[in-house]
């Protein structure tokens, strides 16, 4: 009786060990949260300027590659649009559609000093509550030559009703940042 108990004590752990041995699941994580590529396109006066920020290692140590295809012309009005891609997914995942669909939870912000230009949201690109999503916009370049940065930010879970947010002011928006990229831009006369 006594020996039986001892044997049981020694055997049970072994059984547990065998039965619990996990199926070694070696599949890599399909990264659904990552945005790798942000493209803002400005068209106006026969000109198409593409601003791209691409970070193919996601959270990896490499900095995003930022390219701007041309200079803006002072005083000119550009029609702008922004797209988001996850190029790590196979096939490539277009996140723009997602942002559009869940428009009431997302908004794109454009920040630049007024000497470089001013941005106004396209009144057509709105969510179910009639508030801007910001994927389409108009940029009027500054009246004189200058250089600076355009920061494109995508926020989600933000307070879209807060003061100034509908006009594109990020100050009171809150929420969490999905994208924040800085494009160096040049305005020429």
């Amino acid at each position: 009786m006594k020996n039986l108990k001892l044997i049981a004590l020694l055997v049970i752990p072994t059984l547990f060990t065998i039965s619990c041995n996990n199926d070694d699941d070696n599949t890599p994580v399909n990264e659904e949260e990552v945005i790798t590529t942000v493209t803002t396109t400005l068209t106006g006066g026969g000109q198409t300027i593409t601003l791209t920020s691409r970070d193919l290692d996601g959270e990896g140590p490499e900095e995003p590659t930022v390219t701007v295809s041309g200079d803006l012309v002072a005083g000119r009005t550009y029609t702008g649009s922004t797209t988001f891609l996850n190029e790590l997914a196979n096939p490539v995942d277009d996140i723009t559609a997602e942002v559009e669909e869940e428009g009431d939870e997302h908004q794109v912000f454009y920040q630049l000093v007024s000497s470089l230009g001013t941005v106004t949201y396209d009144s057509e690109n709105v969510d179910v509550d009639g508030r801007p999503i910001g994927l389409q916009f108009t940029l009027v370049a500054g009246t004189a030559a200058s250089t600076g940065n355009l920061t494109v930010t995508l926020r989600h879970d933000l307070n879209k009703a807060a003061t100034g947010v509908a006009a594109g002011n990020i100050t009171n928006a809150g929420g969490s940042t999905d994208v924040e990229v800085v494009f160096p831009i040049v305005v020429v006369d």
Binding site: E33, D57, E59, E102
Partner: protein, 793 residues
């Protein structure tokens, strides 16, 4: 000369004429004499004979302490004014709950002979029924707490925490992913009957890696044939909720005994003096039960416990990038405040912990026992994040399942003045990082095997002096399966050193199988010496070794719950600590003082250091890297207890730690600030056992901080501007007042009701704490009024 002769005469009379003899009879409440009862008056001790009689002579006149104890009975502790020979007869009452305490001391002895053990008894533990293990441990001087919000609380012993402070629950070493600073011990405080804190690595039977110290939790065990129950109801104003914990226990010295415990906790958002801490609610549903069969020569135990918690993480602490961090630090206002709610939304944690164990103890003879134990633990941690897509909101961003099997064999014997303990342990651990979360896990899947072997010897020169020494060897091997982003692998410089770990390739990731082996030695030598009865001196020197944990080795990216990039290092070596610890205890008539200085020299000390930031498409993120350094921790804990009168008591404690990073000549990060606690207690047994306490908690500002601030560009007025991110400075010091009172109503011989009323943070002080990970985002909790009802039946 004349003076000397007077002095001589005085001394002679002091010794010769002021001593008296005390006699008496000790019996139980029915008048039956108790044999071998311990009677202690002033510095003399004796035991009663078969008729309960005792004689103690040579007792000095004056107010003397009297202590009478007998196993299983409530001890009598009082002050007697002794002027002539006296008869002191006393009756001892049966103590149902006390039994195990004494028995443990007899058979198993203390956990470490030469270390200063500080013990929390069930009476103190019950006060924290609504809170956490960490909150209760804070009662011990030298123990501070590391918090994430107000509900995730980890104990810090002499400045060290997490893997450096193993928690032993019911003889099972808790394996609950304790590597994370935001992973609280998965333990229901209501299941603890007694908690022992050992500030060092001297309890070698539990492991050789307790660089900070060890926490040993034991359940309440009744060894008397009786059935008792206890129900505790707590209501708290802050969080607008409470908890209900109920236990029932069938005790027995021999034969069958069992117990069962259930706890429910339900609290909503906590509040600071100025705003709601949105999403700070928590819930717990816990159960534990055990069954025991005992005979004279052996006993058999089986136990199962289940801990199930849902913990909200304050929403304002969920930051995007360094921009949000800068705004939080500078505004000192949370970015998200909503009205009070009980709802817990993302970010949140859902944690489950199962423990099942069987234990068999056999007495080979009166002095020798053999213990065999198998324990299985299963820990599942789900962390839910604010996800980018709403379809993912209900999907955990982190899903780790940790299974641990341990087998222990312990042998204890005493021969003459020697006491010997030795044992082996075998452990197998498997961690499974679920890849279906859609987020790369920082902690990989791994398999780990551990074996350990220890021996401890205690030699008692006499009742007052003993020497203890122990040695332990541990072997551990870990094999992980992890995907590394190729660019990260290169940036970490792993190409040359660790290319043999690469077993596959998947897109821009390497599939690796890093494997490490560790051989560790731990040792300990200590000395305990009692001078008279009023003074005691303990010295302990220990060597402990700790292997890098999975987060220190393998972290390689954005830690979503902290908003920072955390980088581990495969090159990390094990850390080794040499700790010198000494305690002086001195008792005067109404005052007792304990001083406990320590020096802890840690080689290859691992810590997380902010090193700058990395830019991703989401903006810049602060980068924290696991580093290794030579560290020196020094400090002291002081306790004083002053019995002012029969009714009034004053307790005071101080704790100080100085952490030096010797390699870079700066202070160590995250060291607890200087703390001074004071408590005045009023007690009146005749008013329904009234106890009323006022406690003052004074926490100084931590000025000994390293400067790890960094500069980055953020957008101010639509233009990029360089700013300094001050993540190093500690918040201001603070002073809090707490009140506690209780009364006990004895309904009949068996049933009693204890009601307590307490207020934490009476003044509703606004403050932030250096050891709270959310100090960048929110204030600490404001005033909390609590009511507790406890029924014993």
């Amino acid at each position: 000369m004349r003076f000397l002769s007077i002095l001589f005469f005085f001394l002679v009379s002091f010794f010769g004429y002021t001593q008296v003899t005390i006699t008496g009879v000790i019996s139980d409440v029915n008048g039956l004499p108790l044999r071998d009862t311990h009677v202690h008056i002033a510095n003399k001790t004796t035991a009663t004979d078969a008729n309960g009689n005792y004689v103690l002579s040579g007792i000095p006149k004056g107010k003397q302490k009297l202590y009478i104890s007998y196993i299983g009975y409530k001890p009598i502790y009082e002050i007697q004014d002794i002027s002539t020979d006296m008869i002191v007869n006393r009756q001892l009452k049966l103590d149902v709950t006390k039994l195990d305490d004494v028995v443990i001391q007899q058979v198993a002895n203390s956990k470490s002979e030469s270390s200063n053990e500080q013990i929390l008894k069930s009476k103190t533990i019950e006060k924290f029924s609504n809170q956490t293990l960490g909150d209760a441990l804070k009662e011990v001087s030298g123990v501070s707490i590391l918090k994430t919000g107000s509900t995730i609380v980890k104990p810090v012993i002499n400045g060290l925490h997490s893997n450096r402070v193993p928690i032993i629950n019911n003889n099972v070493r808790l394996e609950d992913q304790q590597w994370g600073t935001e992973h609280a011990p998965n333990f229901d405080i209501n299941a603890a009957g007694k908690i022992t804190v050992i500030k060092g690595a001297s309890a070698l039977q539990y492991g050789g890696d307790a660089i900070g110290g060890i926490v040993v939790i034991e359940p309440e065990l009744i060894k008397k044939d009786t059935l008792v129950g206890k129900t505790i109801l707590n209501l708290a104003s802050n969080g607008m909720g409470g908890s209900l914990s109920s236990s029932i226990q069938k005790g027995n010295r021999f034969g069958w005994s069992w117990n069962a415990l259930g706890t429910l906790k339900y609290l909503g958002d906590r509040e600071t003096p100025d705003y709601v801490l949105s999403n700070s609610g928590n819930r717990e549903q816990n159960f534990s039960g055990s069954i025991r069969f005992a005979k004279e020569k052996y006993n058999f135990n089986a136990m199962y416990s289940f801990y199930n918690a849902q913990i909200g993480i304050i929403k304002a602490s969920h930051i995007g990038n360094v921009n949000d961090l800068y705004n939080s630090i500078n505004n000192q206002q949370p970015s998200y405040i909503a009205p009070f709610t009980y709802t817990i939304a993302a970010p949140k944690q859902e944690v489950q912990h199962h423990i099942a164990k069987i234990n068999y103890q056999r007495w080979l003879n009166d002095n020798t026992s053999l213990d065999l134990q198998y324990a299985f633990q299963l820990n599942n941690r789900l962390e839910f994040d604010v996800r980018r897509t709403s379809t993912n909101t209900d999907k955990a961003a982190l899903d780790l399942q940790l299974a641990t099997h341990t087998f222990l064999a312990d042998y204890k014997t005493s021969v003459g003045n020697w006491k010997l303990k030795s044992g082996i342990n075998l452990g197998y651990q498997n961690n499974f990082a679920n890849p279906k979360t859609g987020v790369r896990p920082l902690i990989p899947s791994y398999d780990k095997l551990d074996t350990g072997l220890y021996g401890i010897a205690v030699y008692k020169f006499n009742n007052a002096t003993s020497l203890e020494s122990g040695l332990r060897y541990d072997f551990s091997t870990i094999e992980a399966t992890k995907y590394y982003i190729k660019s990260r692998w290169t940036e970490r410089g792993y190409d040359a050193e660790f290319s043999h770990f690469i077993v596959g390739e998947e897109g821009n990731q390497w599939l690796t199988k890093p494997t490490f082996n560790y051989h560790n030695v731990a040792a300990n030598i200590g000395w305990r010496k009692q001078f008279h009865h009023e003074m005691e001196w303990l010295v302990n020197i220990s060597l402990a070794s700790r292997n890098p944990n999975p987060s220190e080795l393998f972290s390689d990216g954005l830690h979503h719950s902290t908003g920072q990039i955390e980088l581990g290092d495969l090159r990390l070596k094990k850390e080794q600590a040499y700790k010198f610890n000494t305690t002086f205890k001195k008792d005067w008539k109404s005052l007792s003082v304990q001083v406990n200085p320590f020096i802890n020299r840690i080689s290859n000390f691992m810590y997380l250091q902010p090193i700058g930031f990395e830019t991703t498409i989401r903006g810049a993120f602060p980068v924290w890297e696991y580093k290794q350094t030579e560290a020196l921790l020094t400090g002291f804990d002081v306790n004083a207890k002053w019995t002012i009168s029969n009714h009034f008591l004053h307790e005071s404690s101080l704790a100080y730690v100085n952490g030096q990073n010797l390699s870079t000549n700066v202070y160590l990060i995250d060291m607890p600030p200087f703390v001074w606690n004071n408590k005045v207690q009023y007690k009146n047994e005749s008013w329904f056992h009234l106890v009323a306490e006022l406690k003052s908690e004074l926490v100084f500002r931590q000025n000994q901080v390293p400067n790890y601030n960094f500069e980055t560009n953020i957008i101010v007025n639509n233009a990029l501007t360089p700013v300094l991110i001050d993540i190093s400075s500690a918040p201001k010091g603070y002073h809090l007042l707490h009140f506690y009172s209780e009364m006990t109503f004895e309904i009949n011989k068996k049933n009693s009701l204890t009601t307590s009323f307490s207020i934490q943070n009476i003044a509703n002080t606004t403050y932030r704490d250096y050891l709270n990970r959310q100090r960048f985002f929110v204030d600490e909790m404001g005033r909390n009024v609590q009511i507790q009802l406890k029924f014993n039946y």
